[in-house]
Each structure stands twice: as structure tokens, then as C-alpha cells.
């Protein structure tokens, strides 16, 4: 079965610094997508970034980038120049033809001013 593991329940970062959130997954499928979603306190979950398994190039969206290591089944999120508004729960998620969306347990990110 496909599993998603986020081993860091909580992380903190100083404003303007860089932080990396870890995610590993387990699958025997070859065609899948990986996502990072952000869930701010009392607000809806929104997509941060997505990565196709067949693409070797790491996805980037402004201050957010991923380090996708397919062989290691690792998909970490790097947030550069952290801002107070980045404080949220971050969920790593897996999507394939057989799995609509499987989430990790999440990492709570605190940004210190």
C-alpha cells in the first residue's frame, strides 16, 4: 500500500531564514504526482507545489521549491526567505491512478519574528 510519512511533527524557522520540511513515501507505482499543501490556522488547505514523478527537474514556485529524490522516495519542501504568513500545517500528499490523494500526518511550521 502507498504510504506517506512526515517525520517532523513540528518545525520552527526564523523570519527570512530557510527551512526544509521532509516527506518520504512508499509505492510500487511508476506514474504518480506528489503535492505539498498548506493549511493555515482556521483556513482552507491550499496547494503549494506539485511534482510529477516522471520529471527529474525539481518544481519551483517562487520561494517554495522541492527536492525530489525518486530512488530514495523522498520529497522535501524548501521554503526560502520565510515569512510570518508561512506559518501553517504543511501536508505532503501522493496521487496516482489508484490513490485519489493520500496525505502525510503533517508538519506544523512556526515562523518566529
Amino acid at each position: 500500500a502507498q504510504t506517506v510519512t512526515q517525520s517532523q511533527p513540528e518545525m520552527s524557522v526564523q523570519e527570512a531564514e530557510t527551512v526544509t520540511l521532509s516527506c518520504t513515501y512508499d509505492t510500487s507505482e511508476s506514474d504518480y504526482y506528489l503535492f505539498w499543501y498548506k493549511q493555515p490556522p482556521s483556513r482552507q488547505m491550499i496547494l503549494v507545489i506539485r511534482q510529477e514523478a516522471y520529471k527529474q527537474q525539481n518544481a519551483t514556485e517562487n520561494r517554495f521549491s522541492v527536492n525530489f529524490q525518486k530512488a530514495a522516495k523522498s520529497f522535501s519542501l524548501k521554503i526560502s526567505d520565510s515569512q510570518l504568513g508561512d506559518a501553517a500545517m504543511y501536508f505532503c500528499a501522493y496521487r496516482s491512478g489508484s490513490v485519489f490523494m493520500r496525505f502525510g500526518a503533517g508538519t506544523r511550521l512556526t515562523v518566529k519574528p
Partner: protein, 115 residues
């Protein structure tokens, strides 16, 4: 703005008393999902509708049902809530589910308390 709306945001019910949570969307998406999210846990998919086709996850208890009367609305019915059903319930939508890259758009959730 196009969005996913959930009502109510907070719902209190009594043990065993049926409760209905509602979700509506203005995105005109084909697929609507219901997730259960317990404190400090991953959202867990309960079921989804692809147009009018209902798809239940294998481990979703029979106590949970869903209705989708039209494209815009979807309801989650809990027939006999137990204390273990207290959670945040998230509604989400997406376009064609056969396209893996399609993201899901989430509502703000309904927090259910069972007394």
C-alpha cells in the same frame, strides 16, 4: 471568487443524533470529496463523487453516507454519530480525476463535536 463553501463551520450534535454537513462549490468541478481529519492526523478520504457516480473508500464506516443532488452541492450524513466521529470534515473538489496533476480545492471545513 470561485470557491468551496462548507456550512456550518461548527456543528455540535448529540451521541446517536443524525447530522448533515453541507458543501457547495462554484468551480463547476466534476469531482467532490469528503475527508475526515482528526486532531494532529492526516486528512482521510471517506468517499467521493465523480459526477453522479459515488465511490466509497473500503474502510469508510457504514455510518457515513453522502448525497450529491446536483453538480454544486454535496452532503455528508452521519446516521448515528459516536464520540469517535468528532473531527474536522473537509470537502474538496477537483476537475477530471483521470488527470493526476489536477489539484484538489478545499473548503474551510466543518468541525463536528459529539456530546
Amino acid at each position: 471568487d470561485a470557491m468551496v463553501i462548507q456550512n456550518p463551520r461548527y456543528q455540535v450534535t448529540q451521541f446517536g443524533k443524525p447530522v448533515t454537513l453541507s458543501c457547495s462549490q462554484t468551480l463547476n468541478h466534476n469531482v467532490m470529496y469528503w475527508y475526515q481529519q482528526k486532531s494532529s492526523q492526516a486528512p482521510k478520504l471517506l468517499f467521493h463523487y465523480y459526477d453522479k457516480d459515488f465511490n466509497n473508500e473500503a474502510d469508510t464506516p457504514d455510518n457515513f453516507q453522502s448525497r450529491r443532488p446536483n453538480t454544486s452541492f454535496c452532503f455528508l450524513d452521519i446516521r448515528s454519530p459516536g464520540l469517535g466521529d468528532a473531527a474536522m470534515y473537509l470537502c474538496a473538489t477537483s476537475r477530471d480525476p483521470t488527470e493526476l496533476y489536477n489539484e484538489q480545492f478545499f473548503g474551510p471545513g466543518t468541525r463536528l463535536t459529539v456530546l
